[in-house]
């Protein structure tokens, strides 16, 4: 059996991103005359997948509690060997970025990590765009000799899914038997205030905050406005904030509606983790700090003074309402 131009999307627990990837796959499949398959690793309503763009949905059963990525990869690889799609897409989540390379190695094919854009050519060749060298460049990568061509896609970079109410598709339930060598013995959910990657507002502090106590203050403000606190690496290194708050190349990447950078200079290593934010405000006492160029709005001055003043007016406003 020869390889088709079909596109497989491996859905990994975050329905919002999975549906966006399915819609993207649908528009790409139209270009290369392929079909879209949603392969869901968790229990979900297949109707959504179909309306978002899937022609067929495979609901894999028995994986919910499985923490062995290699075993999941083996199961996926055998499905892929049977069906031979031209393209396989994963979410660039921690799990996706573990399972996908294992699948790629099992199929002896190429994989592009953490893509921020995909484009399908008529021939079925996938152009995969990913940032490299700290986002200073964008590399366009192809896997031109082998199939399937595989990519993980950074969650949140794609447009929201478009739903077509009248679409129909086939649904199959596929039970998977797994002999797991890795077992899960516990799980500690992150506190919601720690879910930086999901936050709509982030107030991030740098070395300019000057102390752990300063970060406590930022946290208080974040709680008031329903946001999360982030930090630069230099602030983490200084012991002002825990590593889980670190944003940037060696921390996490975020994309909130509003990012408030306080006492952060704007090193490229930090910028790559936050410059996809919708709106960026910089608070810095140095009007020449690089971060200002990357911000939409800037307030120049002592951060503590600015935020204390603002906090007063903010509370007043709430009292008025």
């Amino acid at each position: 059996m020869i390889t088709s131009n079909d596109i497989w999307v491996i859905g990994d627990k975050q329905i919002k991103y999975d549906l966006a990837l399915l819609s993207k796959a649908h528009s790409m499949a139209e270009v290369c005359a392929g079909k879209v398959f949603a392969v869901m690793l968790y229990e979900t309503d297949p109707d959504y997948c179909i309306r978002a763009g899937a022609d067929e949905v495979y609901l894999l059963q028995g994986l919910e509690k499985i923490a062995d990525d290699a075993a999941i990869a083996h199961a996926l690889a055998s499905l892929l060997r049977e069906n031979r799609p031209g393209t396989v897409l994963f979410q660039a989540t921690v799990r996706g970025r573990a399972i996908a390379p294992a699948v790629a190695a099992l199929l002896s094919t190429g994989l592009t990590a953490d893509c921020i854009d995909l484009k399908m050519e008529e021939s079925g060749l996938l152009l995969q765009k990913r940032p490299a060298l700290g986002d200073s460049i964008i590399a366009e990568i192809v896997c031109d000799k082998l199939r399937p061509q595989m990519a993980t896609v950074r969650p949140g970079v794609l447009e929201d899914p478009t739903f077509q109410e009248k679409r129909t598709g086939k649904v199959s339930i596929i039970p998977i038997e797994i002999n797991a060598l890795v077992t899960k013995t516990g799980f500690m959910p992150a506190q919601s205030s720690e879910l930086l990657s999901e936050a709509k507002i982030i107030i991030a502090g740098g070395v300019g905050i000057g102390s752990r106590e300063g970060f406590e203050y930022l946290r208080e403000i974040a709680l008031q406005i329903g946001g999360c606190v982030g930090a630069s690496r230099a602030a983490v290194d200084a012991g002002y904030a825990p590593y889980t708050w670190q944003i940037g190349q060696t921390g996490i990447a975020v994309k909130p509606n509003l990012y408030i950078a306080v006492g952060i200079s704007g090193a490229v290593h930090h910028l790559v983790g936050m410059n996809a934010s919708d709106y960026i405000v910089a608070i810095n006492r140095d009007a020449k700090a690089p971060i200002l160029q990357y911000a939409d709005y800037a307030i120049v001055g002592e951060w503590r003074h600015i935020l204390e003043q603002w906090f007063l007016s903010y509370q007043e406003r709430k009292v008025c309402i």
Binding site: R97, G110, T185, L258, W310
Partner: protein, 260 residues
């Protein structure tokens, strides 16, 4: 416990140049140990007990100094896999070369209890090598680890996911990839430095590993960089508040605009 640590030497500056084939020109930049690999190494040094720690790195021939600085920290053996033919390797070609090297080090895999890697390298930032290596060596693996312990011969580890921390258990041998800063790397001692100066660094070439040219480097890589574009660095049209009062008012407006 016998442990292999995969270390990548990465450029310390970000303004690298590339040649026409988009292979990184690593000749003129200072190399440092990839931050996450430092954590893997420290974890290995703590876990080894009466066993040994072997460091392997695939890279340019001048990695000698960096490897010696690792030997000085208590590493028992350092292996440099270097050959012109390895240049331009993508993650799959890298994993393949590393897997062959690992197999050539011991008589068989049972000689090693653990292979530790970094969760990702700061230059390529893929994190794909550890799972690919695991598959090629037919070993179980866990990525993104922040803590490793042993309990009754089993590995007990914590893995950081977006939604929280997972506690996992698995047997040996296995491949684990560690998060940067999870184990801050110890300093070299003077005694260690003296010892390291006398130690031999094992160098392996393509021929010694019995790899064909088509299996490594750019030629052995399924993926290819077709084009590189300078990223518009995200420069925005900043408005600077005329004074702090104006800034404060605008900040409140902006916060109010964000949907809950």
């Amino acid at each position: 416990m016998n442990i292999i640590v995969c270390i990548k030497l990465v450029p310390s500056v970000m303004n690298l140049t590339m040649d026409q084939e988009y292979v990184m020109q690593r000749d003129r930049v200072v190399q440092v140990i990839n931050p996450a690999d430092e954590a893997a190494l420290e974890a290995a040094l703590r876990l080894k007990g009466n066993g040994s720690v072997t460091v392997i790195t695939m890279g340019k021939p001048s990695g000698d100094d960096e490897l010696r600085s690792l030997l000085a920290r208590g590493v028992d053996r350092a292996v440099l896999i270097t050959d012109k033919a390895f240049a331009g390797a993508d993650t799959y070609a890298t994993a393949r070369t590393l897997s062959v090297a690992v197999n050539s080090l011991g008589n068989n895999l049972e000689d090693f209890d653990l292979i530790l890697c970094g969760r990702r390298a700061i230059d390529g930032e893929t994190g794909q090598v550890p799972p690919e290596l695991a598959i090629l060596l037919k070993l179980p693996f866990v990525t993104n680890i922040t803590k490793i312990n042993f309990n009754q011969g089993k590995i007990v580890c914590s893995r950081r996911l977006e939604e929280g921390i997972e506690e996992l258990e698995l047997g040996t041998p296995a491949i684990l990839s560690l998060c940067e800063y999870s184990y801050p790397l110890r300093l070299a001692t003077i005694l260690g430095l003296q010892k390291a100066r006398r130690m031999q660094i094992i160098t392996l070439s393509r021929e010694m590993l019995g790899l064909k040219k088509e299996e490594c480097g750019l030629k052995g890589s399924p993926t290819r960089v077709r084009r590189i574009t300078g990223q518009p660095q995200g420069i925005r049209n900043v408005t600077i508040a005329k004074n702090i009062d104006e800034g404060i008012a605008r900040l409140s407006e902006l916060i109010a605009e964000v949907p809950l």
